[in-house]
Symmetry: C2
Subunit: 216 residues, 2 copies
């Protein structure tokens, strides 16, 4: 299902999907354990705020799924383990009156990459064993009501803290957007941004079924 | 002086340097004014913290310069104006005992881009007219003592708030790093990161002379 276009922009470490099994609803996740490689099929929802200069600011709830391939962990010891991830598929759909229906997918020009590792700055409140998850994402925002397809050129950094299991299903996360993340019209990609994401919060869902993926 | 390699990764809007004058020490900056295009030759210093897994965390002060080309403003009205920037040259040098001398330059594979505009979320304490400056940077960290050249694959997002003049010379700024920004060994660029930037704070200096640039 992944796109056949070879990405020209690679945000981190590529992870092969060769021979890696898909994991769906019903799989068991064991806390504090560095698991075998897998392709996690997970639900996701988010609330994104878009600012369109001169027009307005709009907050839109999205619902959908992601497919994430996970590498072999660098260690089977939880505290030492680093796991590398690639976001190989995403579809999220949202709607608001002013912007119409918005479909968010991966930008096939970008390899969206991430990792899970023990942070250098453990928070108070996180256990000493909690890990940090981060992913750099190149996305496309299709807004047919406005006749626009937008894409980010800087990656959107999605983070989940206090990670106690892999994958961090069920955990809330945040897009680390400082004031504004520019979005460009893909038809005029060398020109200035036409809109901005000003806020992004998400919840990583649990494992879903192939049938649930097909409904999006 | 800019590199002749065409970048394969472009983080925002390209800005042409054709016919744009260099601006050096002695130039006057007028607050609350959207100026003509220019190439700003500015001093800069920063304090960066590097984490090397299994080895340690090191905080290093850097000093150097940047050359930034600024676009024609989209309006001559300060509040409306957007200005687009490209970082066309950078050299910063720092040193610590464990890592040795570190030289930071632009990654010629990346076009480092930025913009200055009125934020959508004015802070309390910033005047209503203050602008926000941001730049997405692809850098190389040459560490000859360790025999390593490192580069980031996600851009480093440098921000300056409460911008009352263009360029924001003399203003403090911050690298918007959430917990860790991965650095890759350019000799093994497809592999996992070997180090991280965990903190970055900088001060944009004033205009400098061509002679001062030559001393770095």
């Amino acid at each position: 299902m992944a796109t056949p276009i070879k990405p020209s922009v690679v945000y981190g470490r590529p992870v092969s999907t060769d021979g890696v099994p898909n994991i769906y609803r019903g799989a068991t996740v064991v806390p504090w354990t560095a698991p075998d490689p897998g392709i996690d099929n997970l639900g996701i929802n988010s609330v994104d705020t878009f600012a369109v200069p001169g027009v307005g600011e709009y907050t839109v709830p999205f619902d959908g799924y992601v497919r994430v391939v996970r590498s072999e962990p660098t260690s089977r010891d939880w505290h030492q383990a680093e796991v590398y991830t690639n976001l190989i598929e995403m579809k999220m759909v949202g709607e608001c009156e002013e912007l119409g229906r918005i479909t968010v997918t991966l930008n096939p020009q970008c390899l969206s990459t991430g990792q899970i590792r023990t942070p250098f700055d453990p928070y108070a409140g996180e256990g000493p064993s909690a890990k940090a998850c981060r992913m750099a994402v190149g996305a496309m925002f299709d807004m047919p009501k406005l006749g626009l397809k937008l894409a980010n050129k800087e990656p959107i950094i999605l983070t989940i803290d206090d990670v106690r299991q892999i994958p961090p299903a069920g955990a809330p996360g945040k897009g680390q957007i400082y004031r504004m993340l520019p979005l460009h019209d893909i038809e005029h990609f060398e020109e200035q941004p036409v809109a901005y994401v000003t806020s992004l919060r998400f919840n990583m869902g649990g494992y879903i079924t192939e049938e649930e993926i097909a409904t999006f």
